[in-house]
Symmetry: D2
Subunit: 354 residues, 4 copies
Amino acid sequence: MSGNIFGNLFKLTTFGESHGVAIGGVLDGCPSGIALDFEAIQKELDRRKPGQSAIVTQRKEPDTVEFYSGIFEGKTTGTPIGFAIHNTNQKSKDYSHIKDSYRPSHADYVYDKKYGFRDYRGGGRSSARETASRVVAGAIAKQFLKDIKINAFVSQVGDLKLEKNYTELDLSMTESNPVRCPDPEMASKMEAYIKDVKKEGDTIGGIITCVAQNVPIGLGEPVFDKLHAELGKAMLSINAVKGFEYGSGFEGVKMKGSAHNDQFNPDGSTRTNYSGGIQGGISNGMDIYFNTAFKPVATIIKPYETIDKEGNKVQTQGKGRHDPCVVPRAVPIVEAMTALVLADFMLLERTSKL
Amino acid sequence: MSGNIFGNLFKLTTFGESHGVAIGGVLDGCPSGIALDFEAIQKELDRRKPGQSAIVTQRKEPDTVEFYSGIFEGKTTGTPIGFAIHNTNQKSKDYSHIKDSYRPSHADYVYDKKYGFRDYRGGGRSSARETASRVVAGAIAKQFLKDIKINAFVSQVGDLKLEKNYTELDLSMTESNPVRCPDPEMASKMEAYIKDVKKEGDTIGGIITCVAQNVPIGLGEPVFDKLHAELGKAMLSINAVKGFEYGSGFEGVKMKGSAHNDQFNPDGSTRTNYSGGIQGGISNGMDIYFNTAFKPVATIIKPYETIDKEGNKVQTQGKGRHDPCVVPRAVPIVEAMTALVLADFMLLERTSKL
Amino acid sequence: MSGNIFGNLFKLTTFGESHGVAIGGVLDGCPSGIALDFEAIQKELDRRKPGQSAIVTQRKEPDTVEFYSGIFEGKTTGTPIGFAIHNTNQKSKDYSHIKDSYRPSHADYVYDKKYGFRDYRGGGRSSARETASRVVAGAIAKQFLKDIKINAFVSQVGDLKLEKNYTELDLSMTESNPVRCPDPEMASKMEAYIKDVKKEGDTIGGIITCVAQNVPIGLGEPVFDKLHAELGKAMLSINAVKGFEYGSGFEGVKMKGSAHNDQFNPDGSTRTNYSGGIQGGISNGMDIYFNTAFKPVATIIKPYETIDKEGNKVQTQGKGRHDPCVVPRAVPIVEAMTALVLADFMLLERTSKL
Amino acid sequence: MSGNIFGNLFKLTTFGESHGVAIGGVLDGCPSGIALDFEAIQKELDRRKPGQSAIVTQRKEPDTVEFYSGIFEGKTTGTPIGFAIHNTNQKSKDYSHIKDSYRPSHADYVYDKKYGFRDYRGGGRSSARETASRVVAGAIAKQFLKDIKINAFVSQVGDLKLEKNYTELDLSMTESNPVRCPDPEMASKMEAYIKDVKKEGDTIGGIITCVAQNVPIGLGEPVFDKLHAELGKAMLSINAVKGFEYGSGFEGVKMKGSAHNDQFNPDGSTRTNYSGGIQGGISNGMDIYFNTAFKPVATIIKPYETIDKEGNKVQTQGKGRHDPCVVPRAVPIVEAMTALVLADFMLLERTSKL
């Protein structure tokens, strides 16, 4: 309830600040008997890791996860999986300039007001470094989900928007370029644009599209915990996210019901999928797809003006090593959160019938 | 966890099907000592009520709430507030035609798969009638929140989009027309359009904008339970919602950080408000504003084709009395859910400091 | 969290004061497809009902439950089961004498301090009348549990203690007498004793033993949510309960491990059952048995001295119609809470393995 | 819900097996601004530590806690406090003899049935080693509770029962002897007795009494989450506990209401305290006191017979270094769990009034 636990049955608690000793988490409620592929877990972390390409932050963090419990002879035991990632490359000095001033559109100001003071180093708990713990848990969730495929990719950077629908794309191309856009031509445009923005010392926003396939019928609960409501909350809980839409989304408001309704095929599948694989909050077996909008990250290298604790004007500029555009590294985070939501509902669904 | 409870401290459980005996709920965790204005509660219900104008469903449901507990001599006692609204105008016969067939883009098909069978009358639990219970609880939440003003209004119907920002509108005009759009000129266009759609036996989508003002600094939790994540979940849990965005939202992805960052005034307020009143998941004292997208409702009066339980093609058409456009009646629901989220975080915020 | 919700998956919310409009509840998470036996539910309520014999309170409350939702054509639908029992025989005037004074060992004083004021009529929310809602939900839980047999009985009243072990008793005799003690000889002694206590205008405590048989192996969670910890909480949440012990209980502290350890039979059952059917917090397939201790109820008819809100001495005496000994009517409540705990863990157990 | 999270607002998640890499936890919801006394935390761990005297297990575990997050410049920040205690002295070989057989009255058998297999080394997750994490969190809770004094002590070992009431004892003497009994004469008897039991290769049970003083009026929730119900659950969740009683407890059933009722003094305090400081589930400002019964631990060094996975008889005997009587080391655990419950309700109580 103070917001560091996610899920109801397949349940992740995370801890850790960007410049503390370690970040990590506890995954509770993971069923016993999953033979874990540890390389696959590390691979997901590597997709999120800083320093992986020229268009992301150049911090060097090995992000090696240590598992403390809940695994015996390579298999999950049904007991909580405790894990930690030690922080090794903190340059806390990079942050001494913000100790007494508030970075615009950051959490600095509200943390001070809410808690009375804050760990100002690297944003502390408000840093996106916390999401590494989500990626670890999400990678385990993916292994639990087995046949369910979750593919996220970058579909927009600034004004550069991929107009193709996900069904027209080869999603196996996503990892072929540093932007994580499965359309190579658009990917190079986006990459060039991000480099320009970086040169300016500025940042830019973007959109990640995510597709979940082979989701069984019946996941999601009718009223408050609709499948798309939990997915929406999961996405909105990721740093820098400003919006979420699924299926026809915001464009769907312009359609008439006669066009928007998805007609059935005799086997219960539908000819169109404006519903985005979810009806009445419950998966219907069709592909689930949704968009998540990320703002331009607040930390810019350009000089800017702000205030200090006393309200005095301060001239400053970003230091440290930051992302000009957050979406390429956020792709595995979107997938991880999707996997956590689906794993939770997969377990819950076991309880719906006599 | 089976999805009929909302909130953590200020906590609503709802029950009821559209054609059962009664709908209702239990509001638990409401602080003691609130002198309730019962007329104000009924007024909110009346805003959601069917039959209030020519552009909404013509069902007649008085929707009178009976309170069973938790109130003594006009004040909340701190014990759970149980309440019910008896169903009085069900025409279950209107629904016998869907007993054995599935309406496209409705919850019919997934309910049958998830639970093994379903209460087919009027959509049962999947009916938006459930939201009347939310409006009751939300009206109590509003009275708890006192100085916090929550105003929702219709900002788009189909292609008709109100281009003005909420700051340029007189929000007291919202209730002056049946569409609940505070711009009278746009309101009449929308009204005329909805009437046309209704004549066709069709439906159309729309967008509701909501603004919360005078929210204290510090509401929301840093990681998973960010204020906007809970607001997003709350909105996405409303029937027919397909998308949520706050602050700069989906448009914000096109902006650069240097333009998007909200510069501070000396008092901690900001010159712009692309953040939408929330930074790092925590309210910063500025106006909170967000958009919620509603699809065209699935029930159309036009003839359509569908399948029955055996997968046979069926020719049918909607019966009953339905809304051609759901957004006018959804305005009080959006406000209610906003009030529930804010009330919950108001209580939680009392626990953050020593 | 404000304490009116019980359970995690099979989850009961209750509401209502003894002298309000109605008491009731919402049972959420009950699986679909249970064909309900409504007579069996009413029968459980009748076992708890006032006025059923000469040794219980003579209030007349029909305690007829109305179901509002979650049931269709006699079966649970998987949606929340809302229900209410209207209060019909309140004599609130009986309580005007305690409006401004605090009854010793009642909740009067602490309610006033906690909430600022209280609904003083009949104890309000602190009245054991609330447990009628638990009995309704517990009766549904029993039907879900099918083959699991839950039998509670009175094993002690004052100093009158049934020395026989439950295995030596014919538990089908429990309902044969108003005390609900399955040993007829002891039952008449207890009955006579309770009548004496009643004549004095006094009250007396007692113990209820409960046995759950045919519980499958594997219910309960290893650490905080051990099966006996949840059973203990469930029992301690019943009005007037002061203690809980299971298996060897308090007597077990005097034993040595070599005697206390339950030796295995080849089939995994055990020769003795000091463990009370639970090892490491998890059911092992043997009978689960436990004792719950009830204090003498605080409301006595004898004159007594107390204080009013200003701390002034007040001479008063109980009015109204009260139980001289609470255990006979508490037997169905103990069974109901046991059923709720087991139903919750039955659902949860479905999620423990891959 | 899978039982590794305790508390609702002041909330502890624990992880770890006795012979895994590390045990530890995450304390979420701890208010910001508590200046932590780290020595006091370690001191509590030392009270629970093996090897501290001749009457406890001779394992050597330094049990040094490492804090990973949630603390900045010595103060809690309001963000989750992650911590770990690395396991350093595991002798897993001591346990290879139980790999394929089930120790009587241990969790071995039920773990295998529940999860399909188990980490057999040292009992894995079912080991009382997990409680070290509770002691860490409880020590922080104690610092949050400041003026509330929590004192637990051993009041019974086998048949040796301290007949004095806690009010007649000098509780500052508890730490003066290895048994943790504040009566020096009884303490030496108990110590001698435990040594005898140890020589026999056997074990013996005991009772811990706990007293919480200066608890403010108003903690606890009226219905399911009564203060004593949560305390009971907390105690029953500790390894080897078989019973819980508070105030007059099991003895109270023999009393009449006229004697049991606690008469008020003019200031609202009571002349007697059979209520144990709790009325209607809510603290009344008087001392809270309760007893927790521990069985003789199951691991004995004497030879015994058991079965293997196939149900074959096996002759074996305990190896490793075990406690002949668990209560001396359980005293800080009882205090820790009490502190966690009180801290949770202290936060919740902030939300009860307008």
